[in-house]
């Protein structure tokens, strides 16, 4: 045993020494790279516009610390203050204040030039003053969150009395419709999530993390959902997880809306609210569908409403005042995982309860309706 250990130790030591010698003596990296210029990357994580100009939060990535040499705004050199000054280490962030007279409603192009002459462009699509984190702004964003998150889900849930009258016969159709809408949300979440993955610094590996987090969340929720439920998920419990998945999705949605306000990308607030209302209406139907015929208590409805709709509010706050693309991507990954979990659970429930009916006209038309309504109403969301 100790002999085997000694052998293993010697083997590792030999490998370390040999590799070290080869790197030091043969210098394979230098031989391949020559005197190539350093790899540099700069990503703008936050843009804030105020009375004093433009404030950027930048993250650097690269083989060596990145030095910002000069900055152009709209094709003109502009003086700036960098805090902290000096070279930016790998994955470090700095703030850059540019006293540029930006114009409300206009598009501004910012070109950050490093000492090696590489340039990184950042476009402010529509310049709007960044909401300062005051009580008034919190209230306004909170109200917006309620309007696009809570209200439409509530309206959707109010369909419950109608659905009961439809009774058990319509249940496969409604559950299939829920799966359809959740499938739409799943792909929508993935799509939006990858948009933010693209905005995150490549060095953080946001893409890989996104996939892993999605699957991990699904796994954990599948486990938690069935804990103590004897391996089945139905009724109020199933509805709760549907609401949780939708809630996490709406949290991400809130982040995106808040961030869009900060970045000046939302021009039509009224249209946005209308679109989200239409869009999220179906979510309410999906939440109540699994409870049909289960006689849930009255308090369940507002509880599920808050679980599904309210996360939009903190989402909007965080998105507007704090969050970076990396964390938005993380949130969307968790939301996608939660949605995937309920898609799996409702599908299993459908299969188990209506054994041969999974390919029935009711199920297929329900699926198609769910996806179709979500797609059609998504066209009203200008984001």
């Amino acid at each position: 045993m100790s002999r085997a250990r000694l052998l293993a130790f010697l083997g590792v030591a030999l490998l370390v020494v040999a590799t070290g010698w080869a790197m030091w003596w043969l210098r394979p990296v230098e031989r391949l790279a020559g005197d190539a210029p350093p790899v540099e990357e700069i990503v703008v994580e936050r843009t804030e516009l105020d009375d004093e100009g433009i404030l950027l939060t930048l993250r650097a990535d690269g083989s060596e610390p990145v030095r910002i040499a000069q900055i152009q705004v709209d094709g003109a050199y502009w003086r700036f203050e960098q805090n902290p000054p000096g070279p930016i280490g790998r994955l470090q962030t700095v703030q850059v204040r540019i006293p540029y007279p930006w114009e409300p409603g206009a598009l501004h192009r910012i070109l950050i030039i490093t000492q090696t002459g590489l340039s990184f462009e950042h476009v402010v699509e529509v310049a709007l003053p960044t909401p300062a984190p005051g009580a008034m702004e919190f209230a306004a964003l909170g109200l917006l969150g309620v309007m696009i998150g809570v209200v439409p889900v509530a309206i959707g849930m109010l369909s419950y009395p109608l659905l009961i009258r439809w009774g058990q016969r319509g249940l496969p159709y409604l559950l299939a419709l829920t799966v359809g809408l959740l499938l739409f949300l799943l792909f929508d979440t993935l799509d939006e999530g990858f948009e933010f993955v693209a905005l995150a610094p490549p060095g953080l590996g946001a893409g890989t993390l996104f996939g892993l987090l999605t699957l991990l969340t699904t796994g954990i929720l599948l486990f938690v959902g069935r804990w103590g439920a004897g391996g089945t998920l139905e009724g109020v419990r199933l509805a709760t997880f549907v609401a949780l998945g939708i809630g996490l999705h709406n949290f991400g949605e809130g982040l995106a809306v808040g961030a869009a306000f900060t970045a000046g990308e939302v021009a039509l607030a009224g249209f946005l609210i209308l679109g989200f209302t239409l869009h999220n209406l179906t979510e309410g139907v999906g939440i109540v569908a699994p409870m049909i015929g289960r006689g849930p208590r009255a308090w369940v409805f507002p509880a599920l409403l808050l679980l599904a709709g309210l996360p939009t509010v903190p989402g909007a706050w965080l998105g507007a005042f704090a969050v970076t693309p990396f964390w938005v991507a993380v949130c969307f990954a968790i939301a996608a995982g939660a949605i995937l979990q309920v898609v799996i659970e409702i599908t299993l429930y459908l299969l188990r309860r209506y054994e041969a009916a999974y390919a029935s006209p009711a199920v297929l038309s329900g699926l198609a309706t769910g996806v179709g309504i979500m797609y059609a109403t998504a066209l009203f969301v200008p984001l």
Partner: protein
């Protein structure tokens, strides 16, 4: 440093700028502050966001331009010195009595700072961009020992009159790295000319910094009708000494190699003559040898503020080709001589810049600091 670029003013102004809170415009229906300012410009209250100098006067140029300072010593050349740095060569007499001017030009690969903190991997003649200003007299014999100390084949292609063998193109006067070639020709015609590398690909060889001014002064003996004018152009004469002569090579640098210039300048360093204006003695006339070598853009231009000038296209005439203009444009390799005076002006800063505003704001602008006396 000029009044409108003083950093301490900038800092103070922006720190003092009020921070009136901006409401979420899209929801509350209120627009941004600072749009309500225009009519109140003279007597109204200070409005946040408008840059003002320490005395409260609005100044939109306070924060404009590049940040920091270029280390001219490390570059090995100072744009202010380049303005008046003429290389007359080593002068001797040929057996037939003609004047011979001999020069040595060495290509050196060198990283240069073209704006504060911004480095460009240049190819240079004699370690500077633009290369040395070679100045001769009409009819002189020119002999240039050209040493290629760079990493690519290079040439010196002169805009002048010479034989095909001396053209400085691939196949005629191209030197491989480590090799030497001797160019020999007569300095003709008189005027404001240039030389540049003509190895392929030419666009890259020029853009990387291989160009310079080649000035041929008129020989007064050959121009008896305009002897006085020719004498004023001829370096070393009493008539010429009155003039304040400057060489300005309009160039640009594509730092990220996307075939668009990130930096425009005169004599390489962005805003060099804005950060430190060119001193001009009010009563003495000014002559500028202006050459355009800018890559990627079809034309460049020169515009003078508060004054007009006479222009001699290519400098090959002794009477102006354009009179009383304040803007001229040049295609690449076009050049000319500008003559003007500030003798009837009051002292002050007179701006000059390319009148492509894009070039101006990317570095090609400067000031003449007109004074009674220049130390």
């Amino acid at each position: 440093m000029v009044w409108w670029r003083q950093p301490h003013l900038l800092r103070r102004t922006f720190l003092l700028a009020g921070s009136g809170s901006i409401l979420l415009g899209a929801l509350t229906g209120r627009g941004a502050r600072g749009r309500e300012d225009a009519p109140a410009a003279v007597h109204g209250p200070k409005i946040a966001g408008l840059p003002r100098d320490s005395s409260g006067v609005v100044n939109s140029g306070l924060a404009f331009g590049t940040r920091g300072e270029v280390d001219h010593a490390a570059n090995g050349f100072d744009p202010h010195a380049l303005l008046t740095d003429f290389d007359y060569g080593t002068v001797s007499r040929l057996p037939d009595g003609r004047r011979l001017r001999e020069y040595e030009v060495v290509v050196v690969d060198k990283t240069i700072e073209i704006a504060p903190g911004l480095y460009f991997p240049a190819w240079t003649y004699n370690g500077r961009v633009p290369g040395p200003t070679l100045r001769a007299v009409e009819g002189d014999r020119i002999r240039i020992r050209f040493v290629n100390g760079g990493s690519m084949p290079h040439t010196m292609h002169f805009h002048g009159i010479h034989s095909a063998r001396m053209d400085g193109i691939p196949g005629a006067g191209e030197a491989a790295p480590g090799e030497t070639f001797v160019y020999e020709f007569d300095a003709l015609p008189f005027g404001c000319h240039l030389y540049h590398c003509h190895s392929m690909p030419v666009k890259r060889h020029i853009h990387r910094g291989l160009y310079g001014a080649f000035i041929v002064d008129p020989d007064p003996e050959r121009h008896p009708d305009q002897r006085e004018v020719a004498l004023s152009r001829l370096a070393g004469t009493e008539e010429n000494a009155r003039w304040q002569e400057f060489v300005m090579v309009m160039n640009g640098f594509d730092t990220n190699f996307d075939e668009e210039n990130e930096i425009y300048a005169v004599n390489t360093v962005a805003f060099a003559y804005a950060d430190k204006p060119i001193p001009i003695e009010r009563k003495r006339p000014v002559r500028i040898y202006l050459i355009n070598v800018t890559e990627f853009d079809p034309v460049n231009s020169f515009h003078l503020h508060g004054n007009f000038f006479d222009y001699y296209d290519h400098g090959t005439t002794l009477t102006p080709t354009l009179r009383t203009v304040d803007t001229i444009m040049q295609c690449q390799a076009q050049r000319g001589i500008l003559e003007f005076t500030f003798q009837d002006h009051e002292p002050g800063l007179y701006m000059f810049h390319a009148h492509q505003s894009e070039f101006t704001e990317l570095g090609w602008m400067g000031f003449f600091d007109v004074r009674e006396q220049v130390a």
